[in-house]
């Protein structure tokens, strides 16, 4: 009996290729393609007065130059507003090439196509654009003050105001025994994958087909967007995701201007002649100024609580910087508003989120997608309550936790999937016990004293969160066994290093009873699977994992039915082990799956020797009165199914850290970082741990090192890795973790998502630990040694 693969920390199938340099990332493709480069706005806000391309026209290798004026029909329309929402009353998107006005440094103005990237950059550098600079709006306070507008037709720079409430929070706060008010500020950072974006488009006039490779998290949706913009039927458009060097959210935005412009230019340049290929692989500076960030929020909190620290009423006002445009709607502030509640049952809650425009790069989800901001708010509030009452911070959390017997727990709000925010499962009290244990919470006071005697300053922090994972609408899976016995699995969503091909193979191999090595998985290729949503919000394992399992079960059922006919056995007595269908307990009565695959497709013509078994005279078909393909079935040993969840399923976690601060230099160091995490049963524990490590590292990065700095004129001052400080190995501590598994009742596999877990509570935890060490309130993150030094002298 083969061992079950689900739950095994097996090594990844992706690795053999990647460690030998045989990855196929976007810029590894299309060596002979033309190259695109862009003239991008150097101003944060300006009117375009004139574009003079003549100095570029005699540049060597130039093929074409395009401005907004050249864009026809739908290509010249604004980019789509992907996620409309009733509260987003003033959503705005940009044009693929700027039309009249630029609204952030980096906005594309002119596209150049040349024989190679060096020549394209030369031509772009020669183009002269004349601008009339306009006042730039930078920072939330300036946006809200609205002395100047980012969009002339958006009063107050307000894109949206979203209010959600349960109960009467103001009244509950007024009636509470105790009250507190807090002002908090939190900046995230940016996804900053090491591979930037890229598009490689090929148009073939002979068959009118467009093939686009793009480094994306949402290839099926990119396909629909390109087809719509180019007014082509989607069946004529293939979008293929290559190996992707990290996404972390930034590559879920689509279509980027480049994703519209390159296919259009390829088709335009091809005319009726030979196929044309064009490629654009963005450089690091482009990524800083023209992709997406997830920057700041200002939060004002009013909370009412009792003597035990139970929150009776919570009223939060959030002001969110969404950058110059809102292609991704208001998902980030929605997630902040809803996930702020964490694992707690709050008496009454009111949240009002205002999303504001600024003349800066757009703000869209970055791993955590608004949760870190919400958790920062709730957890700093919990710590403030504990301080006010003189109670232990973990005990205050304990008083507020939802109990395991209270699931499903309805928070009374609408989540980012448009569905009710109902927590389905978890065990928060148990997690709290586990994290207290792992970090040594109860022994810390003694540790801190010993350190103080040596002149060292230590502090400990705690952070708790929940994450609604596995949001819909759906994902699908296709499983096919071919006549060699190999199993081909396809799903439409994408991979950026999460090991999808491994975990989906584990699932399919388990469901079918075949060796893992016989399973091949393709993700993100519309040629293999056309209906999908994308990889984001920690949903891939839940959605595609379940869809693939369901598809595999269909294949299994079909295989057993066909094998049953061949073996003259009842399908219920059959099992599949190591790719062989056999009567349970009687291994000699067996038929390999590859033969079942042959029999599944009644043939006239035997294309090889094995196929002869399915031809009309082989005697393997059904009876003389039965059609070879039974009504309602299809030829072939394959199956397709979809998983569409009723709502999100709730993963959760608690982190704790011990931080040391230098009394003289104010340098801060994380000495220990501990994670307790619950994503239900883990398909591959090693991959889950890897996701946690990477998430925590990004969380530490965003707490202590990374900040995107705009000056008052809207210039991004640190648009390079020299001044945008991503941590190296020397900056990231060892991460200790422990797991709890509470299965999800919402899907067949009982799993929950894990991709974002590591990053969510980190700023809250680090802020808490520094505050504990210093005795100074830390209400603004990120924090640098210089910031801490200033706080020490001016608390």
């Amino acid at each position: 009996m083969a061992t079950r693969l689900f739950g095994e920390p097996i090594a990844r199938t992706e690795d053999a290729r990647l460690v030998t340099g045989q990855g196929r990332f976007l810029d590894d493709l299309g060596h002979d393609a033309l190259a695109a480069a862009f003239v991008r706005s150097p101003h944060a806000h300006a009117r375009i007065l004139d574009i003079d391309v003549t100095p570029a026209l005699d540049a060597g290798g130039l093929v074409a130059v395009y401005t907004y004026e050249d864009l026809p029909g739908r290509v010249g329309e604004p980019l789509p507003l992907l996620i409309p929402h009733p509260a987003l009353t003033h959503g705005r998107t940009g044009y693929p090439l700027a039309r009249d006005v630029v609204r952030h440094v980096g906005e594309p103005v002119v596209m150049v196509v040349a024989t190679d990237r060096y020549a394209a950059e030369d031509a772009a550098a020669a183009i002269q654009v004349t601008y009339e600079p306009l006042p730039a709006v930078v920072g939330i306070e300036n946006a809200a003050a609205a002395r100047h507008l980012v969009h002339d037709d958006v009063p107050g720079n307000v894109a949206a105001v979203l209010v959600q409430q349960t109960g009467d929070a103001p009244a509950a706060i007024a009636a509470a025994p105790h009250r507190l008010e807090l002002d908090l500020a939190i900046e995230r950072s940016a996804s900053m994958p090491l591979e930037g974006r890229g598009v490689y488009a090929r148009y073939d006039p002979d068959d009118g087909r467009l093939r686009v490779h793009t480094s994306t998290q949402a290839s099926t949706s990119v396909r629909m967007a390109i087809a719509a913009k180019l007014e082509m039927p989607p069946v004529q458009v293939d979008v293929v995701t290559p190996d992707v060097g990290g996404g972390f959210g930034v590559k879920v935005v689509h279509p980027w201007p480049e994703e519209v412009l390159l296919p259009w230019a390829a088709r335009t340049l091809a005319g009726g002649g030979a196929p044309v290929e064009i490629k654009w692989a963005e450089d690091r500076r482009e990524h800083f100024v023209s992709s997406a960030h997830e920057r700041g929020q200002l939060q004002h909190v009013r909370v009412g609580f009792d003597d035990a620290g139970r929150v009776l009423g919570l009223d939060v006002e959030i002001r969110h910087d969404n950058g110059a445009y809102t292609p991704y709607g208001i998902i980030v502030p929605i997630v902040t508003s809803t996930q702020l509640l964490g694992p707690y049952k709050i008496g009454a809650y009111r949240v009002a989120a205002t999303s504001l425009y600024t003349n800066t790069v757009i703000v869209t989800p970055y791993r955590g997608a608004g949760r870190p901001q919400g958790v920062f708010c709730m957890e700093r509030t919990m710590d403030a309550i504990a301080a006010a009452l003189g109670r232990d911070r973990a005990d205050v959390r304990a008083a507020n936790l939802i109990r395991p017997e209270e699931f499903p727990y309805d928070q009374g709000l609408t989540f980012q999937d448009g569905r009710p925010l109902i927590y389905d499962s978890g065990n928060y009290p148990k997690q709290l016990e586990m994290i207290r244990d792992l970090i040594g919470w109860d022994d810390f006071a003694a540790l801190r004293e010993r350190a103080r005697a040596e002149g060292r300053r230590l502090g400990i922090g705690l952070g708790c969160y929940v994450e609604g994972t596995g949001v819909g609408p759906y994902e699908g899976g296709h499983v096919q066994v071919d006549t060699s016995g190999k199993v081909h699995v396809a799903t439409g969503l994408t991979s950026q290093g999460q090991g999808h091909r491994t975990v989906f193979a584990q699932i399919a191999a388990d469901e079918l009873g075949v060796p893992l090595a016989d399973v091949e998985v393709t993700t993100g290729d519309t040629r293999r699977f056309g209906y999908a949503v994308g990889t984001f919000a920690s949903r891939a394992a839940v959605l595609s994992g379940n869809a693939i399992a369901l598809a595999a079960r269909k294949v299994r059922d079909k295989a057993l039915r066909i094998a049953g006919e061949a073996l003259e056995a009842d399908p219920r007595d059959l099992e599949i082990v190591d790719g062989v269908v056999r009567v349970a307990g009687s291994p000699s009565a067996s038929i390999p799956l590859r033969t079942v695959a042959v029999l599944a497709n009644p043939l006239r013509y035997a294309f090889d020797a094995d196929a002869a078994a399915a031809t009309q005279f082989a005697g393997t078909g059904p009876g003389d009165d039965e059609p070879p393909v039974a009504p309602g079935t299809e030829p072939g040993l394959e199956g397709r199914d979809y998983y569409s969840p009723p709502r999100a399923t709730f993963a959760s976690g608690m982190h704790a850290a011990i931080v040391e601060t230098d009394p003289e230099t104010a340098e801060m160091r994380v000495l220990r970082y501990a994670v307790v995490h619950d994503c239900g049963p883990m398909i591959n524990p090693r991959i889950v741990e890897g996701q946690i490590h990477g998430g925590v590292a990004q969380g530490i990065a965003g707490s202590l090192y990374e900040r995107l700095v705009y000056d008052e004129t809207g210039q991004l001052l640190n648009a390079s890795f020299m001044d945008f400080l991503m941590p190296y190995a020397t900056e990231i501590p060892h991460i200790e973790s422990d797991h709890l598994e509470t299965p999800s009742p919402l899907n067949p596999l009982g799993i929950k998502g894990a991709g974002e877990a590591g990053v969510i509570p980190v700023p809250a935890v680090i802020a808490a630990a520094i505050e504990d060490a210093e005795g100074i309130p830390i209400h603004s993150m990120p924090i640098t040694p210089s910031d801490l030094h200033t706080l020490r002298s001016h608390p």
Partner: protein
């Protein structure tokens, strides 16, 4: 600013993974682009083109360098090792095997840079302390793994090469 209609090309020879390659490149052709696009050795990746991320790290005459901060013409006649040369006779090296065994890669984009850096580190210091390992890889960025498993992989590779 006017530029020459045709950029002069320089004939150079690079020995890459033991094989001599003769190419003609403009003077400004970065070694990273020469390897990737002129020689079609795309295993070396480009993450920043200003020397900070380390994705482009190759070995030049045995020492790790940033290929994005090197002109191909400067290293005419020199020997370069890239990730494609690590597996001897089709067998992955100890470092390559250790990365897979320790789950030291996720998206794989930074991995060739780490493999070359770690390979050079272990050639010079076959039995490094954990501090020496972390110092040795301290110039390479990884956005996916949090480095923990990468350090474990280098430790494991060192141990396996000693046995």
């Amino acid at each position: 600013m006017s530029r020459p209609a045709e950029e002069p090309r320089h004939a150079i020879t690079l020995t890459v993974n033991g094989t001599p390659y003769a190419v003609e490149v403009p003077a400004r052709r970065l070694l990273s682009d020469c390897l990737r696009h002129d020689l079609r050795l795309t295993g070396t990746h480009v993450g920043c083109e200003h020397g900070v991320c380390g994705c482009c790290t190759v070995l030049l005459d045995g020492a790790p360098v940033r290929s994005c901060l090197t002109f191909a013409v400067t290293v005419d006649g020199h020997a370069v090792e890239t990730v494609e040369g690590l597996a001897a006779g089709g067998e992955p090296s100890a470092v390559q095997r250790a990365f897979g065994e320790c789950h030291a890669l996720q998206c794989g984009f930074c991995t060739p840079g780490f493999l070359m850096t770690a390979t050079a580190l272990l050639r010079e210091t076959p039995d490094p302390t954990d501090e020496e390992i972390v110092e040795g890889i301290s110039g390479n960025l990884c956005r996916c793994t949090g480095y923990q498993n990468i350090v474990a992989a280098v430790r494991r590779a060192a141990a396996s090469e000693r046995t």
